[in-house]
């Protein structure tokens, strides 16, 4: 079974999905806000895997060789945005921590009625 199994698009997509869902679970379940941020990073990574997998396995002549790396470009932009997000997000966390002496999401519940 292993023998005629080849690593294809769907395998990568499943890996991405798994990472994404783990990240999602982290976002839902963790109390520490930094852990939530880390989970988001996991999700972004999962998305990047998908981008690159599609870029790797789906291609046809019409796209032309010049645009061969469009998926890579998208992934790069994701990384850029993720970096910016981490920077700003951590700065926010530190500010919140400075004000509330807490990084617990449960304490940050003043977004209600």
């Amino acid at each position: 079974m292993i023998g005629n199994f080849s690593v294809g698009l769907s395998t990568y997509l499943l890996v991405g999905a798994m990472l994404f869902c783990i990240g999602l679970y982290g976002v839902f379940a963790k109390r520490n806000i930094i852990a939530v941020l880390m989970s988001i990073e996991l999700m972004l990574n999962a998305v990047n895997i998908n981008f690159i997998a599609f870029n790797r396995f789906i291609w046809n002549e019409k796209i032309g060789v010049n645009y061969l790396l469009t998926g890579h470009v998208a992934a790069l932009f994701v990384i850029v945005v993720a970096a910016a997000e981490v920077a700003v997000g951590l700065a926010l966390i530190i500010t919140i921590y400075r004000n509330r002496q807490s990084t617990d999401v449960d304490d940050l519940n003043w977004l209600k009625w």
């Binding site: 999602l24 976002v27 839902f28 379940a29 939530v36 519940n109 003043w110 977004l111």
Partner: protein, 648 residues
């Protein structure tokens, strides 16, 4: 001859128009000048009187032709799909007679009011109302169709309202005015309905066209519907006269209407407006004639009942104007049952003579009240004849006329009514009428003897009224004496005003004798009681105290109505208001509360936990994703129109 006359009749519209003009002028221009206002008003009504006389003479000269073919002028008033109404004037003997009576009494009353209303704050306003009333009343008389008649009918009601409540600072006047308007409104409800049904069935409200349509289609079930239809319409139409002419059970407003100035009572609540109902029945007589005979019998019965009912109340009243008011009710009952027994002629004849002598008596009573400084209780008066000879004499003429003593006007008309009742096969009604005649003579002479004869009261310093008041009295007295002669064969009132084919009937002297005896008996009884004191009124009252109290309190009809209004109508109003506030509005406010409450509950779901929000959000995303991924083709089911079963 007829051609020229027709030219004259075309100007009949001026008769109501002149007083209306005077109303406008007084209301908008000369309000501040009392003298000018009264002059304009009197000039206008006198011009109308002379026109009415001219038209009356014209009618007499035209003779037979005008009886068969009334002179009608119509202009279109309203013309829409399903409703064509004309406005116009009809000149025939009936309307000519009414024109004459109305303008004559109105001019007398207006002249009389110069003295009676002298110095009143609202003098100009009074004359404005008087002019408006005269205009509306004359417009009603000249109406060529039922709607036009109804419009003026309501307008005279308005004037009556305004004039009863003329002294609006008096609470009693204010209440009486309101009562009059509302009570007649009840009758108008029926009249309005009857009118609508008539239009629906016959497509016209024009008197002539209606009469023709009814004559031709009376057997045609397809047009008329079932046989009872005309009868129902007749009853509905008759509701109007019941209210306006104070027939039982809607008579209650008329005695209270005496709160108005006395000349107003004379004009509106004795001579003219209250007989509008009689006039309407006369105009629409063809309707009642085509209806089931039951309808006419009902009218006769109700009229006779009202006659004796009101007369019996009048015996026990002390207020001079109220006695006259109940007497008016009683006489209106007379006119109604005259119509009911089928004699249009007798009814109209009595309408005319009654207008003369009742206006005379009201104005006389006004003169007395004026002299007594607005005292109205007859027991506070006495021996006034010596102090007020003209008022006393003319009043006496009125009493003799209403009691049916020959040769005064009332004798002829009352006799004719009674004779017709007997001849047309209504012996019970004849009996009631005769007894009423006796009662009438009794209470009228009672009034006269107590007020004008007997000992003088020291505290009173009466003196004769000014000329402006006594001259109208004398003129009306003249008509009360000689007005009845038009019924003599050589003048032939009946050949002009009649319904159906004309049969000349000679005066039945035997029957006349009986009614004269009844009248004289009444006078004699009153004489014995109140002058000779042979019979003690107090003792009789004490002996039959139950009946006396019943009569004195007008059979408690007012009390019954007040109870109904205050407990049933107002109670229902309160209940419905409660229902509105607490049920209808309660549902509304309840819905609002539910909205607010559910908001209060649902906001708990806003925990403020971003993770919860995100979870719900993602859950929804997953669901939508599933729909898109696996539910292909299901989406079109969400089209709302498809569910409504809409688009073809």
């Amino acid at each position: 001859m007829f051609k020229e006359m027709h030219d004259l009749f075309q100007w009949a519209w001026l008769i109501p128009f002149l007083p209306f003009l005077s109303f406008l002028i007084i209301a908008f221009v000369t309000k501040r000048s009392k003298r000018l206002s009264s002059t304009i008003s009197i000039l206008a009504i006198l011009s109308s009187l002379s026109l009415a006389v001219a038209i009356g003479l014209g009618v007499i000269q035209s003779g037979e032709k005008i009886v068969e073919h009334p002179a009608i002028v119509n202009v279109n008033w309203l013309n829409i799909v399903g409703l064509q109404i004309d406005f116009g004037t009809i000149v025939d003997p009936l309307s000519a007679m009414m024109l004459f009576v109305v303008t004559l009494v109105a001019s007398m009353v207006q002249i009389y009011s110069l003295g009676y209303m002298h110095g009143d704050e609202g003098f100009s306003r009074y004359y404005a109302y008087q002019s408006l009333f005269a205009s509306s009343m004359l417009g009603m008389v000249l109406a060529t169709n039922l709607l036009q008649l109804f419009i003026f009918w309501e307008l005279v009601g308005l004037c009556s309202y305004l004039l009863i409540g003329f002294w609006f600072f008096k609470v009693s006047a204010r209440e009486a005015a309101k009562k009059a308007f509302i009570t007649t409104r009840v009758g108008d409800f029926g009249l309005l309905l009857g009118m609508l049904f008539l239009y629906v069935k016959f497509g016209t409200l024009d008197f002539v066209a209606l009469s023709v349509a009814m004559n031709t289609n009376i057997q045609d079930v397809a047009v008329i519907g079932t046989a009872g239809y005309v009868t129902v319409m007749a009853f509905l139409v008759f509701m109007g006269p019941v209210g306006k002419s104070g027939q039982f059970p809607l008579h209650v407003w008329l005695p209270d209407a005496m709160e108005g100035p006395t000349p107003v009572s004379a004009l509106i609540h004795a001579a003219t407006m209250v007989v509008a109902g009689v006039y309407l029945v006369a105009r629409m007589f063809f309707l009642f004639d085509h209806a089931d005979p039951m309808a006419l019998q009902f009218i006769a019965g109700l009229g006779a009942f009202t006659a004796i009912f009101a007369a019996s109340i009048a015996i026990a009243q002390d207020d001079i104007k109220r006695i006259l008011a109940y007497s008016t009710l009683s006489q209106l009952g007379y006119m109604m049952f005259a119509l009911g027994v089928g004699s249009l002629t007798a009814s109209m004849f009595h309408l005319m003579t009654h207008a003369f002598f009742k206006a005379l008596m009201f104005l006389g009573a006004g003169s007395v009240i004026y002299a007594m400084h607005h005292k109205q209780d007859i027991w506070e008066m006495g021996g006034l004849w010596k102090k007020m000879p003209i008022t006393g004499t003319t009043f006496f003429i009125g009493v003799l006329a209403i009691s049916g003593v020959p040769p005064f006007a009332g004798f002829w008309s009352k006799d004719e009514i009674l004779a017709h009742a007997l001849h047309n096969g209504h012996p019970i009604i004849y009996g009631v009428g005769l007894f009423t005649a006796f009662l009438t003579a009794f209470y009228m002479s009672r009034l006269f003897f107590v007020v004008f004869m007997g000992p003088e009261k020291k505290e009173n310093h009466p003196h004769e009224s000014p000329w402006s008041m006594t001259i109208p009295l004398m003129i009306l007295a003249f008509f009360s004496v000689f007005g009845g002669f038009v019924a003599l064969p050589e003048h032939n009132f009946a050949s002009y005003i009649h319904y159906g084919t004309f049969h000349h009937e000679p005066i039945a002297w035997g029957l006349a004798g009986i009614s004269v005896v009844a009248g004289l008996l009444g006078i004699g009884l009153a004489y014995a009681t109140y002058i000779k004191k042979a019979i003690s009124a107090e003792k009789v009252a004490a002996q039959y105290s139950g009946i006396y109290k019943l009569l004195k309190n007008k059979y408690y009809v007012d009390e019954l109505y007040l109870w109904l209004i205050h407990h049933i109508m107002d109670g229902l109003a309160k209940i419905l208001y409660w229902f509105d506030i607490y049920i209808v509005d309660g549902v509304v406010n309840g819905l609002a509360l539910i909205t607010r409450g559910s908001g209060r509950v649902l906001r708990r779901t806003n925990t403020g936990q971003l993770q919860t929000y995100a979870m719900v959000f993602f859950f929804a995303v997953v669901i939508i994703f599933m729909v898109f991924a696996f539910g292909e083709g299901q989406l079109s089911a969400l089209n709302p129109l498809a569910t409504l079963g809409g688009v073809k």
